[in-house]
């Protein structure tokens, strides 16, 4: 090898930059790769139009819409309650929080109060959903790193237990359709509460086991630390919410800020990250699960008796007065909001979903630039998208 070839290579290795040396005979040849829509790492039908210099990403354009069915138009052409089962299909892992966000928006629109026991049940179910979603994410992220099978199966084993609880309560594992305007559809039986309490009490042991397996793993750290680092200013400007925002160190959790439901009654902490990289995003979710367990245990300890549905709530012939409302909650992926405009008819004049994973994808290109394709896969995995919600 001649000397002139060695020096740029050496400087490239020492600087740590992934750019190709200028003396490389193929310098400047860019390759366009279309990742997806059927790539297994995209978690659905999602496409990344990637431009590569060698293996380094120099441009990335996300392409959506493969699952678009104009959810909002359907919402405008049906009654308020008619959209409730359809919100399950937005983010099909977290139907309970989608239900809650929609019910909250309609309750704000109509000025509908909610009984105390229903609010407690909503908190319990939302935190169980958070456990479910973050557990799945931890499994999927490891799968995206190339760790086939084992972590995902550990995660799915626990997910099944939560889904069994949802099925016992609502009749459906994933499409729960459980919240109503002014409460919940059914009450939880003492047996269900006992089973849910048992699961929650044992969840910490599962997290310990999982963390022993994964968190300190050298390969995971090498693959994720420093990958896809995000600055707090950019995250705020881009409207990033949820664990992805808090991984950058911004203290913004709607459970604390808005204090909706009965969250101010419970004691919990909001974990914050330091670097905003993929590892922090993973770690924040693990820590959030531990806080969720605390919230559920407090809710079980103080769960009041009473009805779960406001007796004056109107389900049939529901016509809110003209007006509008934007209701939002802290979903497992970020802020999920519903914006409704009523003109006094049984159907909403405008029905809008503010999907967290759609907005969180705004920064996908910024996070991936300068990284390799294999890193783009885990960055996308750590953003945590569900295409049912992105495409609507």
């Amino acid at each position: 090898m001649i000397a002139s070839d060695i020096s740029p290579l050496a400087s490239r290795l020492s600087s740590g930059a992934h750019t190709r040396a200028v003396t490389d005979p193929f310098h400047g040849d860019l390759l366009e790769v279309s990742m997806g829509p059927h790539h297994p790492s995209t978690h659905g039908v999602f496409r990344m139009q990637v431009t590569l210099d060698g293996e380094t990403i120099v441009k990335l354009k996300p392409v959506f819409g493969y699952l678009h069915r104009n959810h909002e138009k359907l919402g405008e052409s049906t009654s308020y309650l008619g959209s409730m089962p359809y919100t399950d299909r937005l983010d099909y892992l977290n139907s309970m929080t989608n239900n809650w966000a929609y019910a909250l928006a309609v309750e704000q629109l109509a000025g509908q109060p909610v009984p105390e026991r229903a609010e407690y049940l909503r908190v319990i179910l939302a935190e169980l959903t958070r456990l479910l979603n973050h557990t799945c994410l931890a499994g999927f992220l490891l799968q995206d790193c190339g760790c086939s099978g084992t972590p995902l199966m550990y995660a799915f084993r626990e997910r099944e237990k939560i889904l069994d609880l949802f099925e016992a309560l609502s009749g459906s594992r994933m499409m729960c359709n459980f919240q109503r305007f002014g409460g919940c559809r059914t009450d939880a039986s003492p047996e269900w509460l006992a089973a849910a309490k048992q699961l929650t009490d044992g969840y910490g042991a599962f997290l310990d086991e999982y963390e022993r397996l994964i968190t300190g793993n050298e390969i995971l750290m090498a693959r994720t630390q420093g990958v896809g680092a995000l600055k707090p200013d950019l995250a705020i400007s881009a409207g990033i919410t949820g664990p992805m925002l808090r991984a950058t160190g911004v203290d913004y959790d709607l459970r604390k800020v808005d204090g909706y439901g009965f969250y101010p009654r419970f004691e919990f902490r909001v974990p914050l990250g330091d670097h905003g990289d993929t590892y922090d995003r993973y770690m924040i979710r693990v820590l959030e699960m531990r806080e969720s367990i605390k919230i559920i245990q407090q809710a079980f300890a103080t769960l009041p008796a009473g009805p779960v549905m406001d007796p004056k709530a109107k389900l049939r012939g529901f016509r809110p007065k003209p007006g509008e409302a934007y209701g939002r909650i802290e979903g497992p992926r970020g802020e999920i909001g519903f914006y409704l405009v009523s003109d006094g008819t049984p159907n909403p004049y405008r029905y809008r979903v503010r999907p967290p994973s759609f907005v969180n994808l705004t920064l996908l290109e910024d996070l991936c630039l300068g990284h390799t394709v294999a890193d783009a896969v885990i960055i996308l995995g750590s953003i945590d998208i569900v295409l049912g919600e992105v495409d609507r």
Partner: protein, 190 residues
């Protein structure tokens, strides 16, 4: 956070002569909003973001509403402050009509969060955002013609129909066959 009336008065003193008005929300939610003039919208948005008492650094939700009877399309922005943890301040922009004057200034230079959501409003409502860095369709495919969230949108009979060379051949072939017999008539004959 300061009441909306006070914010309105402050905006009027900062932007003298601007037609800023409060849109009243008669519902129980009582989330009133500010209607901004399109020409000054971006300056006012920068003011809302940078004002030390407001610091509305987070644009949560961007959406369109098609007011068919009033004859304009409205774009609604829900703003919050992550720094001071308050909100929402809701601002609205209106197009002049629904057909040829549908241009509004893009607020993506102010809040990056508007980038995809304004593309979505462009895609589904046909509002053109002036100054948007990458205004393309986002949910519908690029060749799609209409804006499906508009109230007067009529869906095509077949979304996936496209002309093929066989269409003309089939039309020509029809001339060689006798007029179609309905199944009921055909069944009656032995």
């Amino acid at each position: 956070m300061e009441p909306l009336e006070q914010l309105h008065a402050r905006l009027l003193s900062a932007f003298p002569g601007a037609e800023i008005s409060i849109v009243n929300n008669p519902g129980p939610a009582a989330q009133h909003s500010l209607l901004l003039p399109a020409a000054l919208a971006r300056e006012i948005a920068f003011f809302l973001r940078d004002d030390p008492a407001l610091r509305l650094d987070y644009c949560s939700n961007v959406t369109g509403i098609d007011w068919l009877k009033a004859g304009h399309i409205e774009v609604v922005y829900h703003l919050y402050s992550m720094a001071l943890k308050h909100g929402p301040v809701i601002i609205r922009l209106r197009t002049a009509n629904r057909t040829d004057a549908v241009t509004l200034p893009s607020l993506t230079p102010v809040w990056r969060a508007c980038e995809f959501q304004e593309r979505e409003v462009f895609d589904l409502y046909g509002v053109v955002f002036d100054g948007h860095p990458d205004l393309r369709r986002i949910l519908m495919w690029d060749e799609f013609k209409d804006h499906p969230m508009r109230k007067d949108y009529i869906e095509p009979d077949d979304y996936e129909w496209e002309p093929t060379p066989h269409g003309a051949i089939h039309d020509k072939a029809k001339a060689h066959y006798p007029a179609a017999v309905t199944p009921a008539e055909g069944a009656a004959k032995p």
